[in-house]
Amino acid sequence: MITSTLRTFILTLLTCGLLVACNNPETIINMSDTSYSLLNTDSTAVSFPDDYKGNITVISFIYTHCPDVCPVITANMKNIQSQLEDTTGIQFVEISFDPERDTPSVLANYKSNFKLNEQFTLLTGTQANVDSLLGKMNILAEKSRIDSVQQDSNQYFMKHSNTIYVMDKQGRIKFEYMGSAVPPEYVAEDINKLR
């Protein structure tokens, strides 16, 4: 009888532990102890990630001269938004890794062209601040030249990480995906685990 009760108790503990582990995934990057000064599309200052704490934030990385993959990542961000039954407390952030060309007004045009609503924030900043942030977030972005279009120093493309992150309310990166390819329902499911 005692053995049976003990067995049930241990089983219950294990089940609870498993459930807690599933709903509290390990931190991939802890952003809660750092802060980066960036600019919104209207040139207002944004402190990242401080200004997003208290929200679950879906984060991607783009540059606006990218004609193919970055719009796919942006489209996937919109698809994730559409997959959520309730978007309350969810923010969508796209950070440019090409601050040299992606000024706030250029990002504003991109936001308008791709019809991103007010839940989306597009951020840029000084090269130093953006580089520092990318380093912290393990995002690679480097210029690549293509001979046929290399006519002046302003014409370049970029090799870059193809990543979407989900950050919890405390500023900890909890989930990482391939930005252009992850099924949006997978991300929506993970977001709901953090609510």
Binding site: D68, A75, V106, N162
Partner: protein, 158 residues
Amino acid sequence: MISKKILLITATALFFFGCSSQSDQTETKKTVILGKMELSNGWARPGSKGQNSAAYMRIANGTASNDTLLNIQSSAAEKAELHESYQDENNITGMRPAGQQVIAESEKLYLQPGGLHIMLMNLQRNLAVRDTLSISLEFARVGTKNVNIPIKLRSTSN
């Protein structure tokens, strides 16, 4: 007198040779091509003047011969080229020129997001959703094909 005759004969011979050569070129251009090169499902992404965009479509070579896509032009962009997006094992993505693509007889070439696409560089005007864009594709055998495509956010939207 003899030299005048020689000159006349030479000139006449050159005239006929010239005509013959011109006729051959015309004949080449008039070669009958069975079937047709079909461009369909075309669309392009929105973009602002001075930025880049990408165009996508399906190219179906319905002729009885292989053909090669040589050049692409659009009045909406300073330059248009066939490019290819790629992804490496470290989740790094990039883009590179795809060169001249041969499309085998009865085969299709798919230009689609994340793969082969027409790179429209330095847009000469804003491309907004519901605008249209004119693109010319020059093939080695069938010549130049023009197509008007819509600006859309994705292939399945309006």
